[in-house]
Symmetry: C2
Subunit: 509 residues, 2 copies
Amino acid sequence: MPRRPHAVELPPIGELDRSSGQLGRQLAQALRDAIRAGNLKPGDLLPSSRLLADSLGIARGTVTEAYEQLSAEGFLESRPRAGTRVASALASQRVMDMSMGSGARKRPAKAPPIAMPEPAPAFARIAAQFKPLPQVPFAVSVPAGPAAPDETWRRLGNRLRARGSGAPSGYGDPQGVKALREAVADYVRRSRSVQCSADQVVIMSGTQQGLHVACQVLLGATDIAWVEDPAYRGITGILEGMGRQDRMVRVPVDDAGIDVDAGIAMAANARAAFVTPSHQYPLGMPMSTARRNALLDWARKNGAWIVEDDYDSELRFAGHPFPSLQGLAPDRVVYLGTFSKILFPSLRLGYAIVPEVLVQAFCGARLLMDRHSPSADQHVLAAFMKEGHLDRHIRRIRSVYADRRTQLITMLKRWIPADLAWLQPSDQGMHMVLWLAHGMDDTLLASRALEAGVAVRAVSPMYSAGNGRSGLVLGLGGFSNEQMEAAVHILAAIIASMKKVRPRRRASA
Amino acid sequence: MPRRPHAVELPPIGELDRSSGQLGRQLAQALRDAIRAGNLKPGDLLPSSRLLADSLGIARGTVTEAYEQLSAEGFLESRPRAGTRVASALASQRVMDMSMGSGARKRPAKAPPIAMPEPAPAFARIAAQFKPLPQVPFAVSVPAGPAAPDETWRRLGNRLRARGSGAPSGYGDPQGVKALREAVADYVRRSRSVQCSADQVVIMSGTQQGLHVACQVLLGATDIAWVEDPAYRGITGILEGMGRQDRMVRVPVDDAGIDVDAGIAMAANARAAFVTPSHQYPLGMPMSTARRNALLDWARKNGAWIVEDDYDSELRFAGHPFPSLQGLAPDRVVYLGTFSKILFPSLRLGYAIVPEVLVQAFCGARLLMDRHSPSADQHVLAAFMKEGHLDRHIRRIRSVYADRRTQLITMLKRWIPADLAWLQPSDQGMHMVLWLAHGMDDTLLASRALEAGVAVRAVSPMYSAGNGRSGLVLGLGGFSNEQMEAAVHILAAIIASMKKVRPRRRASA
């Protein structure tokens, strides 16, 4: 038998706090609570707004407002001449109980335990591996001291934000601000022999995003990708995150760069190759011309695409930078560059130079990811480049980093015995690899160093499973010689202490 | 028989331009060209650096530099006492030819045509559909006139960039700047009844990125997702881009929001539901309490996650905003908010409020996408919120938008006959839906409007195939009444002209 509607004279609500204002909101919350607590039940009739207003000593409009709000939320139902009632369609009491203030965080006894989503643990591991390093030696590209952009950057920004082009605006072009695309096209043509127009430039938040978009656009569900072994964790992480582990072929790298013959033997039919020809990451050598030609040859024969990650070619200390691979095959290569390293990482601006046929696809994938980069700093960077400040900044920091690098090499050779750790030869870039003697666990070493206030990255996770070599990536930033020297001493002590540690037995990979 | 090495007296290089400087670079390029042109062949011996320097009348160091550069690039090989030769390992002449200046853009006749990568066309279509609208009526959320943030935003930014916290820095926390996470947690607790701590806040570049990261983290390879029908193209586009079309179940929406029973009938075992409970996109009604409870009930029973896209709940014009779904089930709901709409879109800052167990996974997925949001504006926004400017701004624009909305409703009713187009009732948000009479093609209408300088979005592409209704999304921005009135007249004229168009026969969907 249906419960007879219960005509409520005055609903069971507590005191309203007149001093805090928002009486309508308070009343709505009180009624909501009363319904949730079961003090008002489905079908119950509420007093007229006039009656309730009088009895509470508040304006009638306040009550009307609360009734309308709760009607919109579905707690109440009003019909002309039938008055306002607690809605009869309110769903299960159990969920209603859940929504009550203090009870809301408790899980009901019968609900199944929350299972982690299938992809979540892998992403959580990535977060742990990429945990940002504190800005101490040897974090890479820390814009401190003489490596920081000078006051021009800030003053130019203030000017543009005041004048208009850097001011708040609506949604922008996913391809990026035109002035910046023009400046980038000019810059890469001039400095990197990249063949492109501004229409082929897609502004990205850095090479990480460029790699992500390239993976999405270039790789169909069953397509295979070549990735260098070792490689930047950023690219292997993306492919793992996309569930493409089984279609990622790790191609070994030797002193001339990626071993194209090995790649062909492993997977001649790959659809894309991700390479770092200017400065292999993390090892640091450039790809030889013979290998460049072989790679392009393979790509043309097999209809494959090449993604050229050119993350820090500005910093070559001997000779001038290699011309880009893109310049040799502009219809086949996606070229990625970034201002994170050369200007400052927290800016989050970089670019992809994309064959014309792929430009719209890159824009679409970028759009779905985050629509576009913030506009204001794109205008600032465009002006910074156009007025020649970037070229001056690069010349300046090239000499800063060359000096830091020489100093660091000297310190490492002096303080760390060569049988425990030695440097990988390289004449370019913002980092160096310090190899560790066999049996030293680089991941453990890196975490001990971090505890002692020194920031290094382990090299072994950059290799495919089972192929890892133990080493450390040391980044160059705007650190003083004193800071670097202190950090080298700490590192030397930790390395010496690890010598005594027996090699840990590894679980089979 | 191997070709006998050819000892070159003087290599066949052209003139060096002494006036332009960079002689080493010029010499390297000349030698590179000679090798590529076949004028210097693999194995050919080059003159000593001293001899070449003397004959060219340049410094010996300049020649050494060029030789070293070309050795690094793999063009030359040097051995002690054996002199410098053109490298014998140079790969195929065909690719070499390709790399020559003017020839580089021509595809050799025998190379297979370039095939588009499999995913590219779908992304290119997304780019076309999302093409940014010009900042004219009725583009959504254009921060012009009284809807723009006042000078406080700029002055505060200048102050923070000068003082340090907004200055250039190294890589930041993928979760976001702590001060901003604290300000966001405080804001959503206060204004949206969201239950969270700052540790559960992950700063995003907007709801688009929040949706993308949520899709990656929550959905395993075979998991099904519920998506409203109609829905924001941003979420359906992401799932299509991830190749998940077949695992996206479109659940119909009625006047009370998503039809949970229908969803259960279609796919009770879905792993996630993407919903817009405060203000269904695009239709504009809130989800009723009964539906909220039913949705949470289903999610708990089936171990599913709910993604609550709360893109513009600040702008409710009647009553105060609904409390969030997240507040009813904080361990089950991912809550997404954005400052794009309420502050300005080109800022690209928003946030996800994430159950504790998923925070690290969200950070990892964000990291792989673009590492983190630019730091400077995060600091500016944190201060803007902490100092109360955001609350003031919201109060101000709420009244601006309420006024614009009333004006626009009046204009539309006045100038467009109700049998051709009528408004969807809604009391919230920055946009309205104008339904079109049967047979009017909204996509065609939108493109004609754009040609005439009026920005609207078609509604039918937001529906699943075959279920589309014809309508237009009209956004509110800081446009003057004169601008809006002019745009309404244009729209009225186009709608009237389309009436005469016979309904186009649609291909079966």
